[in-house]
């Protein structure tokens, strides 16, 4: 199962494999540790994207949408 942990961390497992991995990771200490470490690593990957400025209007759109009542 350990060979699938990186696949799982990258969200690249098929549904069946992923469900199996989830159960296994909960139960296996070494895979749990590996999954945690690789999961933290995957979370850093988006920082590698090239910097792009969003259109200035986007900030206003988001703040304006937040004036609506929050769903209960």
């Amino acid at each position: 199962m350990e060979e699938l942990v990186a696949v799982w961390a990258l969200s690249a497992a098929e549904v069946d494999d992923g469900a199996l991995m989830r159960s296994h990771i909960q139960a296996c200490p070494s895979c749990h540790e590996l999954a945690d470490r690789l999961d933290r690593t995957v979370k850093a990957i988006p920082l590698a994207v090239d910097d792009v400025a969003p259109p200035p209007r986007l900030r206003g759109r988001i703040v304006a949408a937040a004036t609506l009542p929050r769903p209960r």
Partner: protein, 205 residues
């Protein structure tokens, strides 16, 4: 204002806090969405959706369990992939509101910006250091949303090779980033994976 204080202000419904959150992470969020979608209009929609999801659920956000940046960028990534592949929200199995990374970030704005900039440079350097085939496997999964089987088909290599490339690439990245203090070494007491989080995703195609 620290991210912890910002989270409290968001939970209290302070709209200025939402604007502050956007000023901190909106640029990165948009860059990630645009990288995945390649379309500025859809990238804007995804970023707006992610920020408003956090805003609407701010009272459930537990800053002790992870950073808002990680939550936001993960949400943007997953929504972008779903948008690109035509998947609906009901098909998602994402970890929103349950982020794991612990970093809450420095507290002063200039340092936060410098810190983020240095972090981004280090991650780029780490990615650039990977052999092309390893980097390709990681990028097709993370930014393309492809499964390892799909990547094996696309690149015409055995499934075991794709698994191996992913494993080696992530180990290298982990070592590089841990060595520079950019990701924490997990401990058994961390919430981490133990919080019942899953990384498999529906593939309803």
């Amino acid at each position: 204002m620290s991210d912890t204080d910002l989270a409290a202000e968001l939970a209290a419904g302070n709209q200025d806090a939402l604007a502050e959150l956007y000023d901190r992470y909106g640029r990165l969020a948009y860059a990630v969405a645009l990288r995945i979608l390649g379309d500025s209009g859809r990238a804007e929609d995804v970023v707006q959706d992610a920020f408003l999801k956090l805003w609407n659920n701010a009272n459930q956000f537990d800053i002790d369990r992870g950073s808002m940046r990680t939550w936001l960028i993960t949400a943007v990534r997953n929504r972008s992939i779903d948008t690109m592949r035509g998947r609906g929200a009901h098909e998602r199995q994402e970890r929103e509101l349950k982020p794991e990374l612990q970093a809450t970030g420095p507290t002063s704005d200039p340092w936060r910006e410098v810190s983020l900039s240095l972090e981004r440079a280090a991650v780029r350097e780490a990615m650039d250091s990977l052999p092309l085939e390893q980097r390709q496997a990681v990028e097709l999964a993370y930014f393309g949303g492809f499964s390892h089987r799909e990547i094996a088909d696309m690149t015409a290599v055995p499934l075991s090779t794709v698994k191996g490339r992913m494993r080696i690439a992530l180990e290298k990245l982990s070592s590089y980033l841990t060595g520079r203090g950019l990701i924490d070494v997990p401990t058994r007491t961390d919430g981490g994976i133990g919080s019942g989080l899953g990384a498999e995703r529906s593939r309803g195609r």
